[in-house]
């Protein structure tokens, strides 16, 4: 229903604010023509445009902003003239079939990247959170680990015997420093990472877009933390204690025979038969589905930032940004609607999965469903 509503609103905006005539397109049309008629001024030349700006600032210093806007629009006006003389589409032209197909193509590309990034991040979030949950059950905290090793280091007299503890401290500190660097990278906004490596690879490539979408903007870490929090809180629930008293395996260690197999954590369809963690994981998978909607929304924000900030031509959000610049309302509305459709479809799919699961565990019969 919201798709219909938003579509209707956008359509009404498009009707109420149709593509304007040349006069209407440029709010300072009169002024542009006035300046165009000045013989000594060549507005195609950047130097003359700067001179004009400086002159305007001397005579009307209070309206700097307006002068900037006028000059921006002069530039667009001249570009459009050039394009129309060459028989090309104007920057400020309305939608036609060609434009529609181009935008559709971009939308499909965007949707494809979005789906791949969503699936990859969901897998990574789940896997890392599960790994962290099990590791933290038996691993000492950084502080306790260092303290223990320091204590041993000072207690032991022989130099050779000190070496293992020293090595432990160095390894632990190095691991922590490496972890800090990885966290800084994962939290960095996409444009910071991309600009760091801009000369090394082509930011337009599909793979690079996916990698940037997955590793930047803090997406992985934030949602891995949420998934981990779900696991921790679920691990405290009553049914887990019931499973313990039924003597299901509760050892949180990586071991093939007792505990949890490390390889099972990295599978797509994770199963831990005979272990209490199987029950915890099953519950959390369902509970996380609603957070997945939030993750999807955040992910789309990240992808939009990537395309816009890196000026990736031929991509949907770059096209959106250009049309904002050239005030093509119809194209802006079309692209916005396309993005809205992606978000809404994601929410619908997730809601469908959640409702199906609710029906199953709610003991609701098919007659009751109908």
């Amino acid at each position: 229903m919201s798709l219909l509503f938003v579509g209707f609103v956008f359509y009404m905006i498009h009707i109420l604010f149709p593509p304007s005539s040349e006069e209407e397109q440029y709010s300072y049309y009169q002024l542009i023509h006035t300046y165009n008629e000045l013989d000594f001024l060549d507005l195609n030349s950047p130097e003359d445009r700067i001179l004009l700006r400086e002159a305007l600032e001397i005579y009307d210093p209070a309206n700097t902003t307006r002068h900037d806007s006028v000059l921006a629009e002069i530039e667009i006006y001249h570009k459009n003239r050039m394009l129309s003389a060459a028989g090309s589409r104007q920057l400020t032209s309305a939608i036609d079939m060609d434009k529609l197909l181009t935008i559709l193509n971009m939308w499909l590309k965007f949707a494809a990247i979005y789906i791949v990034v969503l699936l990859v991040t969901y897998y990574c979030v789940e896997t890392f959170a599960v790994y962290r949950f099990i590791r933290e059950k038996y691993r000492l905290s950084f502080y306790d680990d260092i303290l223990n090793n320091l204590k041993q280091l000072f207690d032991v007299q022989r130099f050779k015997a000190k070496f293992p503890y020293l090595l432990n401290i160095l390894v632990r500190v190095s691991r922590t420093v490496l972890k800090a660097i990885i966290i800084l990278v994962l939290f960095a906004p996409a444009y910071v990472i991309a600009y760091s490596f801009k000369t090394r690879f082509d930011t337009d490539s599909f793979i690079v877009m996916i990698i940037l979408g997955v590793i930047s903007n803090g997406l992985l870490i934030t949602y891995m933390q949420k998934y981990y929090t779900f696991l921790v809180s679920e691990g405290r629930k009553g049914y887990v204690q019931t499973a313990i008293v039924k003597n299901l395996d509760s050892r949180m260690i990586f071991d093939k025979k007792k505990g949890i197999q490390l390889s099972s954590i990295f599978r797509i369809n994770k199963k831990f038969p005979g272990h209490i963690f199987d029950q915890i994981y099953e519950n959390v998978r369902f509970q996380y589905l609603n957070t997945l909607k939030e993750q999807a929304s955040f992910l789309i924000t990240g992808l939009i930032i990537i395309e816009m900030a890196l000026n990736i031509q031929g991509h949907l959000c770059y096209e959106l940004m250009q049309n904002i610049l050239y005030k093509n309302l119809s194209v802006i509305l079309l692209i916005l609607f396309g993005i809205f459709v992606i978000v809404k479809l994601t929410q619908i799919v997730i809601d469908f999965v959640v409702i199906r699961q609710h029906i199953k565990i709610g003991n609701i019969s098919s007659e009751e469903v109908e």
């Binding site: 049914y239 204690q241 019931t242 008293v245 039924k246 003597n247 519950n283 565990i361 709610g362 003991n363």
Partner: protein
């Protein structure tokens, strides 16, 4: 089995007890106020607590060492723990059948006999259908879920061999009859005591249901030598396990009499509820006999205590909420003084005329009814009282229910840090202070120890003499039957429409 326990969070001490002794091979009934630490101690002994969240020492061992010790491993291998809250202790994503047949109780062959005793009203097909469902909040009922947990315990018990040394098998039952009717409670007791007689395991039964004492002392006299009655109490942060005198309980029970004004019956009733209520596509009928032979209006006169009885899940709390305007229904009719209430009465009318004016209600679970994030002194905030709520007012009224001194430290104590019994008393005084003519009390004796129970009943009977009335809902039938005259007991029955 001797235990010396210290359990604390990072901020405060929860339990400190030097001698928590359980006689091996015996059945120990553990009584005591709710929230005092009985469940915590038993979970610590069974190895169910997390050393990450709490600082625990048992018999001078750190908890991580205790969990690896032979004692703890043996308890977990051979014993079982039946938890208090059945809803949260069943996995909502697995069917009852699957949960009944996993881990060490995997063998489905042992199910039949145990289930037949605990679910006598189900045929075999009905039982199979029942076990194929997922445990949801209301379907199956709380009592049914509790019986499933009890079934698991008995399945584990069936692995023990008769006439062998089974003292190291430790079975802990934490409020196993909380959601059960007397009928099922008695079935459970019979099964437990029979199994204990044959298998001689060690059992700890934590309960607030004092009527079990009468049941055991009446019907299982021969087994009394192997049954210990103990009470856990706390004094100045020190926990003690004392012997509980069943004789003093039984003699007190014998001495309890109904109180109230004899003239009340000649006055107009304060409340008159029609015998039939329709809610949730059910027809609830009130009558003066358990068989519901004659539907009857429920009437409460000044200075009376009225008792509403029914089996678990029949709708007693629902009826109470309907009378208080908290639950909508298809039809009901009630007269409170000169005010007529029915299914069309608006919320504003309840607010203006009934709540805190004619009637108030004390809810079952003090943990839910009170704001645990507040302090004791906040308890009267927001109440529509005519008197100024200063410190003296607070202390004066709190002393009604708290016999121990009410000092400044107590006033600023967070409600979350109070014991269950203290919370229940706070819950009670908040309603009593409003001085309404009628107070509906839903499980008012929940979580109270024996001394507090006597105190609370004395307060209620005292107010009755002043002309105040009560509608009581309680599964402590044995006690409430004594304080309510026989003709003031009503019964609920229901049928699907």
């Amino acid at each position: 089995m001797k235990y010396d326990l210290d359990i604390a969070t990072k901020d405060r001490l929860l339990v400190q007890i030097d001698e928590f002794n359980i006689q091996p091979g015996s059945l120990t009934l553990l009584l005591g106020e709710s929230g005092i630490g009985k469940s915590l101690i038993s979970k610590a002994i069974f190895g169910l607590l997390s050393p990450d969240d709490l600082e625990i020492r048992i018999n001078q061992l750190d908890y991580e060492e205790y969990l690896k010790s032979k004692v703890c491993t043996e308890i977990q291998e051979k014993g079982f723990f039946v938890f208090q809250e059945p809803s949260s202790h069943l996995n909502p994503f697995r069917t009852l059948n699957k949960q009944l047949n996993e881990g060490s109780i995997k063998d489905p062959a042992r199910n039949g006999e145990i289930l037949a005793k605990l679910f006598p009203n189900f045929s075999e097909i009905e039982r199979e259908q029942f076990l194929s469902v997922f445990p949801k909040p209301f379907r199956p009922s709380g009592g049914e879920k509790q019986r499933i947990l009890i079934t698991m315990a008995f399945k584990k018990m069936s692995l023990l061999r008769k006439n062998r040394y089974n003292e190291s098998a430790f079975f802990i039952f934490d409020e196993p009859t909380g959601s059960l009717d007397n009928e099922y409670r008695n079935i459970f007791l019979k099964m437990l005591l029979t199994a204990h007689e044959q298998l001689k395991f060690t059992a700890l039964l934590i309960t607030h249901d004092y009527s079990m004492i009468s049941e055991i002392t009446d019907r299982y006299v021969k087994l009394l030598p192997s049954i210990n009655f103990r009470e856990l109490s706390v004094h100045n942060d020190d926990h003690q396990l004392k012997k509980f005198s069943t004789d003093s309980y039984l003699s007190w029970l014998g001495s309890v009499q109904p109180k109230g004004s004899k003239q009340s019956r000649y006055k107009q009733p304060l409340l008159s509820l029609q015998s039939e209520i329709k809610v949730f596509n059910r027809r609830i009928v009130i009558s003066t006999s358990p068989e519901a032979l004659t539907p009857s209006k429920l009437e409460i006169f000044p200075g009376e205590a009225v008792y509403l009885k029914a089996e678990s899940g029949a709708g007693k709390t629902t009826v109470a909420k309907i009378i208080m305007g908290l639950q909508s229904c298809q039809s009901f009719q009630c007269q409170v003084g000169d005010i007529t209430l029915n299914q069309h009465t608006t919320e504003n009318q309840w607010k203006r005329n009934i709540w805190a004016k004619k009637m108030s209600m004390v809810f079952q679970h003090a943990d839910e009814a009170l704001n645990l994030n507040g302090k004791v002194k906040d308890i009267f905030r927001g109440l529509p009282l005519k008197k100024r709520k200063d410190r003296e007012f607070l202390i004066e009224n709190l002393k009604i229910v708290f016999e121990e001194s009410v000092d400044e430290a107590f006033l600023v104590q967070p409600v979350a840090f109070l014991s269950g019994g203290q919370k229940q008393r706070l819950n009670l005084i908040r309603a009593l202070i409003l001085d309404t003519d009628i107070v509906i009390l839903d499980e008012p004796l929940n979580g109270l120890d024996f001394d507090t129970l006597q105190n609370v009943l004395a307060i209620l009977q005292d107010r009755q003499r002043q002309g105040k009335s009560y509608l009581l809902i309680s599964h402590n039938e044995e006690i409430i039957d004594r304080i309510v005259p026989h003709d003031r007991i009503y019964y609920l029955n229901w049928k699907r429409i």
